[in-house]
């Protein structure tokens, strides 16, 4: 499968919930089937001062891989382990310690059309809303290079299409995609969204000026 996770811009004067509702309505109109909900959560652990250099460890769960627990270091090294790994983190309490109130999660509805699966995730840290992440999965193809144009054509029907693949994917265009690649993409977005200021109705800082108009135009074309 090839998966791309993209941030969905929130136009000025709209709340995140309004944008999500708009997207759900749009997908239903385009004959997408709603196939349930999903959640991806991430908790950050910091190494104790005894470890040099200091490390940041992210423990990520994805409801699509319920038996797995992903652990990714800030170096990019990613471990895919059994869900028992959570219990082990408790044992490592003295070495890696979770910072309170850093748990970030993206959750929302899942839609399917043909072999495509689209997930609309509302990202929040506790009660504070941080943005919208759209995950697009194409199951039949395993190499991003082969289906990039196909994905672009698919995305065009409901969102602004990036000219180039996101940097993470771009470096791996010719390789076979694995679940780790999904986790890594979420991790990159989570890191960015954590730094972003909490929002209710203002656009996220990463959005390009005028992007809301372009979304509108693309929507009309589709």
């Amino acid at each position: 499968m090839v998966v791309i996770v993209q941030q969905f811009p929130i136009p000025e004067g709209k709340t995140g919930q309004q944008v999500v509702d708009m997207l759900i309505k749009q997908f239903e109109a385009m004959a997408f089937n709603r196939i349930g909900n999903f959640v991806v959560d991430c908790e950050t652990y910091y190494s104790s001062p005894t470890i040099t250099p200091p490390r940041v460890l992210n423990i990520i769960h994805n409801s699509d891989f319920p038996a797995s627990c992903f652990a990714q270091l800030d170096t990019g090294t990613c471990l895919r382990a059994d869900s028992y790994f959570d219990a082990m983190m408790m044992v490592l309490n003295g070495i890696y310690q979770a910072k309170r109130g850093t748990k970030i999660e993206s959750k929302g509805p899942k839609f399917q059309k043909g072999d495509f699966v689209v997930k609309i995730g509302s990202v929040s840290i506790g009660p504070s809303f941080r943005g919208i992440l759209i995950e697009i999965e194409y199951g039949p193809c395993s190499v991003p290079l082969y289906c990039w144009d196909l994905l672009k054509e698919f995305m065009k029907s409901f969102m602004k299409v990036p000219k180039e693949p996101p940097p993470y994917l771009k470096a791996k265009m010719g390789e076979i995609c694995t679940p780790t690649d999904i986790i890594s993409q979420y991790n990159i977005h989570f890191t960015n969204l954590r730094k972003a200021t909490p929002i209710a109705s203002c656009p996220p800082p990463l959005t390009v000026k005028g992007s809301s108009n372009e979304v509108q135009n693309n929507g009309d074309m589709a």
Binding site: D115, G139, P140, S142, V143, Y146, C147, L150, E153, I176
Partner: protein
């Protein structure tokens, strides 16, 4: 025509056999009863109650009886042998007589002649049909290879017209099939072929096309009987290692392609050059290496109903969505 059989000797022989069997059963009866008459009462089925020891006289009488019966048997055997000698037995002549059975003038009674004639006609006609059919089918192949507008097919027949196939029967030895596929994988560098025979004689070929898709062919001899296509991340083997050639792919695209592949086997099938059918089929199949990249020739889009163009034309190899097919 048949030599007269000595009927008297036959009758005499049969009568002797009857009395011989009679004599033998007399002997057995006499021996069963033993000395001094039957020990078991023939009416009640109970042993006789008298415990008298058999007298010497009775024993003598018993021996005389047995002797008399055995003598009678010996005589009857001699008579039987004599009547057998009287019968002439020319074995060679008997077989000749059997071969003349069909010339029995009473045709309507046994009907052998009639069915022999109809069988012969049937065979004759079948031979005619086969000759005709083979002629027509051969012509057909020649035409396919020489049509100018058919670049795909022309590549398929490097030897040109009149090439003889060594794979004409379904009983092709497995070593020959292996060699054939080894040869094929050399022609297509982006195709990996893996041969296995998990069901005994039928060959199963696993095809991997680039990193696009996987296929599984079930062959009977070199005849493609079943095709199934799956994604590169799907398996044809179950968890316990057995080969599963029936379950479909979990993706819509590959289920559709499986259907197209099976219909392609019918399109490329030829009764005479079986190897050519497989070769042409694979030549067509490798066009799926553009499955995700090539837009539809008619609508120029990659997606229609969230599906890429799954159809590849049999002659031109152009790609179309199923609904855009010309």
């Amino acid at each position: 025509m048949a030599e007269m059989i000595n009927l008297d000797a036959v009758t005499e022989g049969l009568r002797t056999i009857a009395s011989l069997r009679n004599g033998v059963s007399d002997l057995f009866k006499c021996l069963t009863e033993g000395v001094g008459g039957p020990v078991i009462d023939p009416y009640s089925g109970q042993p006789k109650t008298s415990d008298n020891e058999p007298t010497e006289e009775a024993e003598k009488q018993f021996l005389a009886d047995v002797q008399g019966i055995v003598e009678g048997i010996t005589n009857k055997i001699l008579v039987l042998e004599k009547s057998c000698d009287l019968l002439s037995h020319p074995t060679a002549q008997v077989s000749v007589q059997l071969s003349l059975l069909a010339q029995d003038p009473a045709l309507e009674r046994n009907g052998v002649y009639k069915s022999v004639v109809s069988c012969y006609r049937w065979c004759d006609r079948m031979h005619d049909y086969v000759t005709q059919a083979s002629h027509i089918l051969n012509q057909n192949i020649c035409r396919r290879s020489t049509i100018a507008l058919d670049p795909l097919q022309r590549i398929l027949i490097p030897g040109g017209i009149g090439r003889r196939s060594s794979f004409a029967t379904i009983n092709t030895p497995s070593s020959q099939i292996d060699a054939f596929f080894n040869n094929l994988s050399r022609i297509h560098p982006n195709v990996t072929l893996e041969i296995s025979r998990p069901f005994g004689a039928p060959t199963v070929v696993f095809i991997t096309l680039d990193r696009i898709l996987k296929g599984c062919l079930l062959l009977h001899g070199l005849l493609i009987e079943w095709v199934i296509v799956k994604g590169i991340n799907e398996e044809f083997k179950t968890a316990d290692g057995t080969v599963d050639i029936w379950s479909d792919s979990r993706y819509e695209v590959f289920r559709k392609i499986s259907d197209h592949c099976n219909s392609a086997t019918l399109n490329f099938a030829t009764p005479v050059h079986v190897d050519l059918a497989v070769r042409s089929w694979l030549n067509w199949f490798v066009n799926y290496n553009t499955l995700f990249t090539k837009p539809c020739r008619k609508c120029n889009h990659r997606l229609l109903d969230a599906s890429p163009p799954t159809w590849r034309d049999f002659r031109t190899a152009d790609c179309y969505h199923e609904k855009c097919r010309p």
